[in-house]
Amino acid sequence: MSKKNSEYLINRKDNQYEVVIGLEVHAQVLSESKLFSNSATKFGAEPNTQVSLVDAAFPGMLPVINEFCVKQAIKTGIGLNAKINKRSVFDRKNYFYADLPQGYQISQFKDPIVGEGKVILDMPDGQKEVGIERLHLEQDAGKSIHDLDPQNTFVDLNRSGVALMEIVSKPDLRSPEEVSAYIKKLRSIMRYLGTCDGNMQEGSLRADVNVSVRAKGSKEFGTRCEIKNVNSIKFMQMAIEYEANRQVDLIEEGKSIDQETRLFDTKKNETRSMRSKEDAHDYRYFPDPDLLPLEVSDEFINELKNNIPELPDDKKKRFIDEFKLSPYEATILVSDIDTAKYFEEVVAKMGKNKDMKLAVNWITGELFAVLNNKNLEISQSPVSAKNLAILVNLIKNGTISGKIAKTVFELMLDGDKDPQKIVEEKGLKQQSDPKAIEALIDKIINDNREKAIEYKQGKEKLFGFFVGQAMKASGGKANPQLINEILKKKLQ
């Protein structure tokens, strides 16, 4: 499989540049309570209503690890095919800021809970493996609000101490498209595992993006810049595009690139220098003496391993093997856990004599279109999997035609109505009685004798005309297959 077609290169005069990207994704652990305290973590609560004495760093307060968050991190590590470290250490990352009450963030520096792993991306021209460097647990900081008052900054500590997983990729990504696919894949895996809701609008998933460029074919890495805290896939792609071009321009001008931290301005669509390497904080990491090293046993890890649900890659493989779906169809259906769930429910409800292709087409076609229009998640679908299965079966067993099915589907949208009932009430059942259709066709041929003759003389295009007339006469209910068969016989 050639990768050449989709290779993402930046062209300048005679030179071509390759872009090298690594991501540090911050994923909020799905957990009722914080990493080291029992405060709630609900999004959107009134400011400073989910803050304990520990979160606000009162004198003498001590962190106590939340075992559930540890399990979530290990599960995520398993989902990333990564090494789980039986011993990990929490360190203090020291810096002063008003929304960092302790004056340090508890993080994992030298000994993270999860080591190297990998993620497989399905790109249009084949699969791509992206290495995972590590995953570690850390506390989130609070939130500084600068725009409520002209003089003062307000601090909301609800987020202070919330558990984050920082997932660091190797510098394996080469284009904005791959970054998009990578984030989507991570999100998909974590949503399957229930370890992060992946909600980027609420900040549950955000990333620091490391970008460097190098001449095409070069083995050396260029100097990288880190774009901090980008919170949507679109912005990540825009930031990378801007930043890569900025770096290429510098090189073309014979200038060097400074290793620095940059911010992406979403309004101006540009990255701006935040601080240079010289100004980088000295975080003075050291093991947090309030916490013992975190040790987990093989049994603890195995227990979690044994309860890992089927993940997207495995599910895709099964859909292809078991349901004979194409890799493309399978990829679409497994990318989101709720879509996969919906599809599997449709499959289950269709019973023995099922038409898998038809089901897939209806979900990815009509249903997705409706969800898209109404801006709904599949979990909020106006048509239940059960009723969609019934609809597909009605088509499959010839009760209704595909065309009528679209009408029925429209009617189902209002209150998730049973398609069987709609068909009965509206009398939409397909006419499949050959005698009745024959009579209908006889009449049409009779009414259009000249056209019938023309057809017989070789004007085969007119066949469509007769089908259309027959359909029209039956109010669209006649079984199209029967119309075809009988028409052919009669016009011979």
Partner: protein, 485 residues
């Protein structure tokens, strides 16, 4: 009973249980003496009115099954006490009133004791003479203008001066044992993990331990029994079987092997200290124990190691005092300016010195040479003790290299001040229990202490040895009440 304040805790408990004394009688007596003892400057916060109310309430419905029934006591101002100002001896917490209670003090109140007030200490427990307190020097009841030691100087002074029958201190590098030694009292630093650190203003988390300070070993054992509990709120608290230390206390130490480490015979140690040590060796032998010469080869590295590890942790622990959330705040032009002014004005010189040392040793480029190296040496020091304990049951050393010194004598010489902790610091680094008991006087009549170091979780053993030695030593503190006019 006019001499209530002269009674030991054990006697007071017995008299209250036998209804010879009421909690009100006892509380009143200690309040009266405390009020006459302002010159000692032992208290930062007095809570006398509330204490008397609680005593009266106790007497109305006395629960005499408790271990500390209606016993009044003052505690070091490093323990957070619900609704009572807690300062850690610092300006930066001058206005801080916790809404919560430390586990150790909670344990004490649950056994019936009553808070008299909060006792002076070195700022954030950083000091060996109580001279770094924002609230001024504490006088040693032994003599005017003599330091009581530190950092639990207020606690030591209050027990020795009989302002409280008993108290608790904290010990990071000797802060219970050194002031106990300077004031002729008994102080126990328990095994790291024995007493919860929850609610204690942190100095150096991997070293800090709360412990009892008393007039005698039995009182000390009783209070240890009360304060030592496993606490899930402190991740370094250890769930081990705790003894009924006072009930199981025995003076029978026959056959115990006591190690005498040669490295504790340091250069320039006064002959009085050496003589005291020899006397101590004779006492344990008289009790039927055996002494064995041992070696703790890395002892000389303990002090430099301590002065890397403790400031490193402190520099991070004290970052939370930034003027944003609670405590003292100096106004500034902007956030950074506010931080700088708050911390420059809020912290005293010694605290600032240690924050700077700690920040330095953790800095990139210095971390490996200082902090990491210190952690390695710390391990070696612990290994020394582990080796020694293959041969002996406990170790006997002097508590301090000298007796108490005059106020101001060492304030401009931090290193000489730090040397005070030379015998106590290794015990903290190794996380072991150690007890200081008064064992004699120097030529000036100032008390001198001996330290017994135990195996981890073996508090009972060192309390027993201390108890047996106490009987032989028959120490009498020479207190003239010089401060009472």
């Amino acid at each position: 009973m006019s001499d209530i304040t002269k009674q030991s805790l054990t006697e007071l408990v017995e008299n209250i249980k036998n209804k010879k004394l009421s909690s009100t009688d006892v509380t009143k007596a200690f309040i009266e003496r405390s009020e006459k003892s302002k010159e000692l400057n032992a208290y930062i916060t007095e809570d006398f009115t509330s204490a008397l109310d609680k005593a009266k309430k106790f007497d109305q419905k006395p629960n005499l099954d408790l271990k500390l029934p209606g016993i009044p006591m003052a505690v070091k101002d490093l323990f957070c006490t619900n609704n009572v100002k807690t300062t850690a001896g610092s300006k930066i917490l001058n206005n801080f009133v916790p809404t919560y209670e430390s586990t150790v003090t909670e344990n004490i109140w649950k056994e019936g004791a009553i808070l008299l007030g909060k006792l002076n200490c070195d700022e954030f427990a950083m000091g060996s003479s109580n001279e770094t307190s924002f609230f001024g020097n504490v006088q040693n009841p032994i003599d005017k203008d003599l330091v009581p030691g530190g950092s639990s100087g207020g606690s030591a002074s209050a027990v020795a001066g009989q302002l409280t029958p008993i108290t608790i201190g904290t010990d990071t590098g000797g802060s219970i044992r050194q002031p106990a030694s300077f004031t002729g009292t008994v102080g126990l630093k328990p095994t790291y993990g024995s007493c919860s650190r929850y609610g204690i203003v942190a100095f150096a988390s991997s070293l800090d331990q709360a412990g009892p300070m008393a007039q005698n070993v039995k009182d000390c054992a009783l209070l240890q029994e009360v304060i030592s509990t496993y606490d899930p709120k402190d991740s370094t608290s250890i769930d081990f079987k705790r003894n009924q230390y006072s009930k199981e206390l025995t003076n029978n130490i026959k056959g115990k092997k006591i190690g005498i480490p040669k490295e504790y015979r340091v250069d320039g140690m006064p002959k009085e200290i050496e003589d005291l040590w020899q006397k101590g060796i004779q006492y344990v032998k008289d009790c039927g124990a055996e002494t064995i010469d041992i070696s703790l080869p890395h002892t000389s590295y303990a002090l430099p190691t301590y002065y890397i590890v403790a400031p490193a942790e402190a520099s991070s622990n004290l970052a939370r005092y930034d003027g944003v959330k609670y405590g003292f705040r100096a106004e500034g032009e902007n956030l950074i300016d506010m931080y700088e002014k708050t911390r420059s004005e809020g912290f005293g010189a010694e605290v600032q010195r240690r924050i700077m040392i700690g920040t330095y040793v953790l800095s990139s480029g210095y971390y490996d040479a200082y902090y990491l190296k210190a952690q390695k040496v710390r391990k070696l020091i612990k290994n020394d003790f582990d080796e020694a304990y293959k041969k002996v049951d406990a170790i006997l050393t002097p508590s301090t290299p000298s007796s108490a010194f005059k106020i101001g004598e060492k304030t401009n010489d931090p290193v000489s001040m730090y040397l005070n902790d030379i015998f106590t610091v290794p015990v903290n680094l190794a996380g072991l229990p150690g007890i200081s008991i008064p064992a004699g006087h120097d030529s000036k009549g100032y008390p001198l202490g001996l330290q017994i170091i135990g195996k981890a979780f073996d508090e009972q053993n060192i309390l027993n040895i201390a108890f047996a030695m106490e009987e032989k030593i028959n120490f009498k503190n020479k207190i003239t009440d010089w401060w009472i006019k």
